[in-house]
Symmetry: none
Subunit: 215 residues, 4 copies
DNA sequence: GATGAATGAGCTTTCATTCAT
DNA sequence: GATGAATGAAAGCTCATTCAT
């Protein structure tokens, strides 16, 4: 494992992850291709197993071009993760808006499946969240972002429940979502479809229980 | 990530992982110290971040000595993992024996907490399970071992339920256990203790539901 | 210019420059060869122009071997410089002991020529002293070491002169010595031999002037 | 140290260093800004430590713009050096004209201090002179230019002394001037002001000695 | 068996220089 | 002419593994 010379804070402060943003059309296109390639590499080889050379090669770029936009391996991971986090935030925003009108069974299904779909179509997310998920204590992390998104959905679903309680419940829901992903991704399980359904049922049960809480 | 020149199979064939079982007491002691050191390093630095040199140094041995017992980095991880798996198997064996006489609430608590304790006292397990958890398709993995252990406990708890159904339920229980660990380990969550309790309640609910299944 | 990741203090604290000192006969031999090769490379190409690869190649070693004993380029330079500083210190020690009995003209000659000989037979010294000579403010540097050596000789020569005055005179003598080296090394000067003699005369004049100071 | 792919001669052929003399005022201004920026960078980071990108950025230009005026890094150094050499030549010219009417003590002071001032206000000069000072044998160098300037002053001061002798004396004076700079720049020396005064005294002594030579 | 030295492929990163718009 | 993207050789450094004593 190689570390960049300039020690980073260990945080992925969404916003200014890229050191040098492209100023020409060609640059923007190149950045997109590079991020795409990086996503594939991270998904296939893991963070440490991915080399900058491989990313550049997969993107059809030279190594120098890669470094023009992403001066460290950490930063390309950060840019990718930022993108994913934004997508997830958007997803949760929509879910939150729809939550008040949704049947609990539908909401449970959405919570279980949406994340599952996301992870399936963006396999690098798991790798990067794992690598950068455990940020330094006191730092905002992906886990917290997710937790906040889920909490907002739960709050929309059960507006009378106290925020502190919502926070606890959101943490549990978050883990149920991860559990669904894990089961889905585990090829070894014969009845994994059935298992995901079970988890959805558990989610439904838990959501109903949450709603039934006194304000 | 550094790879040995002669490509390995990538599998951790549990059983005969150690290349040379030490015949003498000296050897046994050395192996124990080395594994202990490796466990600490893996837990602190991750698999890729751990170097053979660091393991040897931490164990007070020379690099040559380390290689005498564990010819590759993979094998030292394998030996450690094997050890952990055996400990877990033993835990599940005891739980299985006790299961028929245990109250569901107690069993739910045991399932939730035992794994949690184990992961806390053996932090390297998570790292190694993560690294070698997703083995090549068709290979026996830690996940399967765990799954089997849990299934045996569930079978002892609910003998009348069909094996196929037990397998599905075991997968879900396994994820609930992981969820408990994740929540416990996440320092950012304020009410993490409450969240673990919630999960335990969910576990209990799920176990009761499992027992209530028709045979 | 490439910088080591672990920022150094910028100081060459003589004593613990090498990270890993050899513990076997073969190691000692290798270290000697490596230092010799490094000296040649630094002398020929300058500090920045010298590559670790080139040093290893010149020493007939692999790059890994070089890094086993000198983990950074800075450290190999430091080890070399330390060696040179020790040699110079020894030279000045001898000169200091002889100073009381020496004729001024002889001492002037010694001061002028000895340094000149040293620089000629250790051409890397100039390069390294130049590179590391300007240490951070408040840090002991080669220049200071030299200054101290010269001051001790002057003090032995003129024991009645105040230390503060000696310090000033030593600084001037030091520059006269450097001047001799510079002239000697400058091939473009036709009468460089004559010029060195002139400088020696100047040195003699200055030493006499120093002795004639009131205590 | 990075070298261009097409090997250069390594020489700084003073005179036509700039590849494209700007025809317009805009260009002249741009060149001045670029040289100014380059001077700062060289002074702060050294020759190898300075990057073309950094120069362009400091000048508020793009890298492409920089290369339009200075096709290589070497050439920008050359242009800067040429400028410095011209300034020094001018200084010496004035000094030579004034020399016949000047008191020796004043001349000694001028020689000692002028160079000192120059180096202080143009810190990049030292860096570049160091880097390109040791040119290939047979090439005109900064040292020679300086030497010539000093010799002309000495010749004006002591017209009856033979040119060969003047050359030797000029070399010594040149080193005394450098010595003054070195002492002045060395912050570690407590009594550096006193030391510079000493050197000035030595210079005076030497100039008088030069004048007293038989023709 | 124990030890430390040796090896070298491969990694991240830099930067002078060239190109296309 | 001005700008920023593209290029790739080369540098410092790491570390799993092998060897010799």
């Amino acid at each position: 494992m190689r570390m960049p010379s300039q020690k980073s804070t260990g945080t992925l402060s969404a916003g200014s992850v890229q050191a040098k943003s492209p100023q020409r059309a060609r640059g923007h296109a190149r950045v997109a291709v590079l991020l795409e390639a990086a996503g594939c590499e991270f998904a296939e080889k893991g963070y440490d197993g991915t080399t900058m050379t491989a990313i550049a090669a997969r993107a059809g770029s030279s190594i120098g071009s890669l470094y023009q936009f992403f001066p460290t391996k950490e930063q390309i991971a950060g840019a990718l993760l930022e993108r994913y986090v934004n997508m997830l935030a958007e997803t949760f925003r929509k879910l939150r808006e729809a939550a008040p009108t949704l049947d609990i069974s539908v909401l449970a299904s959405r919570l279980t499946r949406t994340f599952l779909k996301f992870r399936t179509s963006h396999p690098a997310f798991a790798v990067l969240a794992e690598t950068y998920g455990t940020a330094l204590p006191g730092t905002s992390s992906i886990r917290e972002d997710l937790h906040g998104g889920i909490a907002s959905v739960l709050a929309a679903m059960a507006p009378h429940v106290a925020p502190a309680e919502i926070a606890v419940r959101a943490a549990v829901v978050q883990q149920l979502m991860k559990a669904a992903v894990a089961i889905h991704g585990d090829a070894a399980i014969a009845g994994r479809k059935a298992a995901v359904d079970e988890l959805e049922g558990l989610m439904q049960h838990y959501l109903r229980d949450t709603i039934s809480l006194a304000g």
